[in-house]
């Protein structure tokens, strides 16, 4: 069964590659990509921005940039979705920098479990849960971004690295460095 699904995933990638190659010549071909990823990108932005209209604006900006810069995208191990998330992530950062709006962070217990485990195991979980919002608020923009992608959205390191345009090893090194920093913040106060 897994074998079967493997093949279908490969097929999908191949198809996507073809569609993008076509879209470089004819932007109309981009429509299927747009329809396929619109919801995912919309939610990605919405969970950070928290407002429907702004989110719709930013999302269409993401696809516009993707379409305009499609020439620059090439298949070297980078999934197209990661490339879209990268653009979305940058657009969100720009938005917060320009508007000074409050940035939203969705902290679902289900996803944050891994992070609690990484930090202290079971013992201080309740206390950590209470303090976490304050600790997240003290992180730098890029630190919060990596914690969010990895733990709050539960993405694999490979995808985190692709979105942030860094190596997988570096994504890991940075993540654990930030967790250390958060631990120290937790103990400090």
């Amino acid at each position: 069964l897994t074998f079967k699904s493997d093949i279908s995933v490969k097929k999908q990638l191949l198809l996507e590659e073809e569609v993008i190659r076509e879209a470089k010549k004819n932007p109309q071909a981009f429509r299927s990509i747009y329809e396929q990823y619109y919801k995912a990108i919309f939610l990605f932005v919405y969970h950070r921005v928290g407002e429907k209209e702004q989110t719709a604006d930013i999302t269409s900006q993401v696809f516009l940039k993707a379409l305009v810069n499609l020439e620059k995208y090439n298949f070297r191990g980078l999934p197209f979705s990661s490339w879209l998330y990268r653009i979305a992530s940058n657009e969100c950062n720009d938005f917060f920098r320009k508007t000074k709006r409050t940035r939203m962070v969705v902290l679902e217990e289900f996803h944050a479990e891994t992070m609690y485990d990484e930090m202290f195991g079971d013992d201080l979980r309740e206390e950590l849960r209470n303090k976490l919002p304050a600790i997240l608020g003290r992180l730098k923009q890029n630190e919060l971004q990596i914690v969010e992608l990895r733990f709050l959205e539960g993405r694999p390191f490979k995808e985190v690295a692709d979105i942030l345009n860094i190596t997988e090893t570096y994504a890991k090194v940075r993540t654990y460095r930030i967790l250390d920093k958060m631990k120290k913040m937790f103990i400090g106060k």
């Binding site: 932007p27 109309q28 981009f30 429509r31 747009y34 329809e35 619109y38 919801k39 919309f42 939610l43 919405y46 969970h47 928290g50 429907k52 989110t55 719709a56 999302t59 269409s60 696809f63 516009l64 379409l67 305009v68 917060f96 000074k100 709006r101 409050t102 940035r103 939203m104 962070v105 969705v106 902290l107 679902e108 217990e109 976490l132 919002p133 997240l136 608020g137 003290r138 992180l139 730098k140 923009q141 919060l144 345009n165 860094i166 190596t167 090893t169 570096y170 090194v173 460095r177 930030i178 250390d180 920093k181 120290k184 913040m185 400090g188 106060k189």
Partner: protein, 244 residues
């Protein structure tokens, strides 16, 4: 980024229908076309600007060089004669000044016989306007090598690509690795050497990053690409942990 976040304990609710409502691919196509049209117009405008600037510059150059000679006497002309001679002596490029020398020698023989009429002086200023840029070319022009995408982009690349060696994460080693390399005529780094080392792992990482960096515009000497040496410090640091 301190403070300005709001943590929500659950995903905010939104229906698929609401999301779909904001979809509008045709608008994106339209905006893309608009952007491209704008970019095209900009390009036309800049070339037009460049051409008009060139015309104005040429005009200004003509006026400036014209003035001293229009009310000139033979004194000015003789000083003009010595100039190219001097340049000929320094022998930067032997052919160009030699031509000028013979030209102006021919001219200087004439004023002794007939007074300089406005017509001939105007003619002279024309020839001098032509000869001036030629006099300037022997001066050697050196342009430094620069990253093709600019220094800020290069530093951004270093920020992204430079990985603190994982083996040393606990050692709190930090500081600069200074690297010297040559940008060859193709804009590629060669002969990479470490001038100031932090240890073999750091050096290897620094060399890796330099090797993979985006291409450079090579240095130019009189417009011809030449190899040039670059020295760059690369900073390794672990996150500073501040607890306030």
């Amino acid at each position: 980024m301190k403070g300005k976040i709001k943590v929500m304990n659950a995903t905010p609710e939104i229906t698929d229908q609401e999301i779909r409502q904001s979809m509008d691919f045709d608008r994106i196509l339209l905006e893309k076309e608009k952007l491209e049209l704008l970019a095209g117009r900009k390009r036309v405008r800049t070339t037009f600007l460049a051409i008009s600037a060139l015309v104005i510059l040429l005009g200004a150059f003509y006026v400036i060089t014209y003035k001293p000679f229009s009310d000139s006497d033979s004194q000015n002309e003789s000083s003009e004669l010595t100039e190219p001679l001097n340049i000929g002596d320094t022998a930067h490029s032997a052919t160009v000044p030699a031509v000028i020398k013979t030209d102006s020698a021919n001219e200087i023989s004439q004023p002794s016989k007939q007074q300089t009429s406005p017509l001939t002086s105007a003619k002279k200023s024309e020839t001098s306007a032509e000869s001036h840029p030629e006099e300037q070319t022997p001066e050697n022009v050196y342009e430094q090598a620069t990253p093709l995408s600019g220094y800020p982009a290069l530093y951004e690349y270093f920020n992204d690509a430079l990985v603190y060696p994982a083996e040393h994460v606990g050692d709190s080693i930090h500081g600069d690795v200074t690297v010297i390399f040559v940008i060859d005529v193709a804009g590629k780094p060669v002969n990479i050497q470490v001038e100031k080392s932090l240890g073999p792992r750091f050096d290897a990482e620094a060399i890796r990053v330099i090797n993979n960096m985006p291409a450079w515009e090579p240095a130019k000497f009189n417009g011809k690409p030449v190899p040039s040496k670059i020295r760059l410090p690369l900073t390794f640091e672990t996150e500073k942990i501040t607890i306030d």
